[in-house]
């Protein structure tokens, strides 16, 4: 079955630094979504990518969908303490319409 893997599992970042988290799928995806879950909270939808090679930006967050539609990345610049949380990617395929497979997430800790 489809598997979605995220690396790294944990990311310690100094405030002000940049970092990237990666999402890799064992199968070609039709689309991919990213969510952020604050400690003690629930996942909150950030963005969806659909097109091969697509790049979208939300302020300091840059999301990219790979050309082969099997991987994605989230890059955060100038990390702030408000970026603390776990970032999940969720991949969708046409075979599993309506069901997104979540990765295990990257837990981000920001030190001042």
């Amino acid at each position: 079955g489809q598997q979605v893997m995220q690396i790294p599992q944990y990311q310690h970042v100094q405030e002000g630094e940049d970092f990237t988290t990666y999402c890799n799928s064992s199968t070609t995806l039709s689309n991919i979504q990213w969510y952020k879950q604050r400690p003690g909270g629930h996942p909150v939808f950030l963005i969806q990518l659909v097109k091969s090679g697509e790049v979208k930006k939300q302020k300091r967050l840059t999301f990219q969908f790979g050309e082969a539609k099997k991987n994605s990345s989230l890059h955060i610049t100038a990390t702030q303490t408000t970026d603390v949380g776990t970032y999940f990617c969720a991949g969708g395929t046409t075979d599993s319409w309506g069901k997104f497979q979540f990765g295990a997430g990257t837990q981000v800790v920001v030190t001042p």
Binding site: Q33, Y35, H42, G98
Partner: protein, 114 residues
């Protein structure tokens, strides 16, 4: 505000005693999902409803059942909770199966089994 509401926020149940978790939504979304999330793990889809059409994941234990009496409400029934069922249970909704605008999650119910 339109939202997804889960009750209760925390639930303690006895081993083997049936328990029901509830979810309601004011978004008028067609699709409702139940996810199980254990500590530091990805949310795991248990089942979903597209309108009244129920879709069970192949690896969801028979111990887990769901009901959707109307568009707004969806329930998760655990018939005989075991210690391994202790987790956060997340309800999510989506306007349609494409989910292009993402899922809207409730705040979750944290289930403890004693």
């Amino acid at each position: 505000d339109a939202m997804v509401i889960q009750n209760p926020r925390y639930q303690v149940t006895q081993f083997g005693k049936p328990v029901t978790l509830s979810c309601s939504q004011t978004l008028n979304h067609n699709v409702m999902y139940w996810y199980q999330q254990k500590s530091s793990q990805a949310p795991k889809l248990l089942f979903h409803y597209y309108d009244k059409d129920f879709n069970n994941e192949a690896d969801t234990p028979d111990n887990f059942q769901s009901r959707r009496p109307n568009t707004s409400f969806c329930f998760l029934d655990i018939r005989s909770p075991g210690l391994g069922d202790a987790a956060m249970y997340l309800c999510a909704t989506s306007r349609d199966l494409q989910g292009a605008r993402g899922y809207t999650f409730g705040s979750g119910t944290r289930l403890t089994v004693v």
